[in-house]
Amino acid sequence: MTMANIAPSALAALTRVRCQIFQTAYNPASIRTGAKYLRKRLRGPSMMKYYPPYEQLSLAKLMKQYPEWDVVDEDEQIRLRDLDQRKKRGKGAPKKAKSMEDSRRSKRKR
């Protein structure tokens, strides 16, 4: 008896039984079930392990943590002083637009 002589329904029944025995999903029409998104391992935990842990020491963090130490950030002081001078010369940042009409964006050529 060749394969051609077996009824399609019998073949389908055989497949169903085979799926039951080997505990696989019976999906004769090969419909996408999205099961692969549930089956795959989560990649986040291993992704987090890629870089070695590091602790960045910053002056701002230090000042926040120990306010009683009176740490002075010299670069920040210089920046603020320069900013003040620039503002006096009228070179400061422009005022925020209150409405859409005030904004320079609306006047921009396209």
């Binding site: 419909i31 996408r32 999205g34 099961a35 998104y37 990649r43 935990p45 987090m48 890629y50 070695p52």
Partner: protein, 102 residues
């Protein structure tokens, strides 16, 4: 001391985002790709997927050099870029790696 530049920080941010949102994203992916679900449900799930930020997708994560932060020329088994890999290999800091000679 590894060189942590802004691109490495961005990558770390992406990794954190992926880890935090992975479970929920997977659930939506499952519903959106399941052909047995009604089309409307699948579409809603897809719309929900689109609301997640850029740094929650695993494809935004890039393996950079853990020493220099370089993005290209990475030896993935060591997580090092080609120059650091070469320097370390020559200093015998990578076990089992030595310069070929025949």
């Amino acid at each position: 001391m590894p060189n942590v530049n802004c691109r490495v920080l961005r990558d770390i941010k992406a990794r954190k985002g992926v880890q935090q949102n992975e479970l929920l994203r997977r659930a939506y992916l499952y519903v959106a790709r399941d052909q047995r679900q009604p089309a409307q449900v699948r579409h809603q799930a897809q719309l929900q997927l689109n609301t997640f930020g850029k740094y929650t997708r695993p494809t935004t994560v890039k393996n950079r050099c853990t020493e220099t932060g370089r993005g290209r020329g990475i030896m993935s088994e060591f997580g090092l870029c080609r120059t650091v890999f070469r320097a370390k290999a020559r200093n015998h800091e990578l076990p089992g790696v030595h310069k070929a000679s025949w």
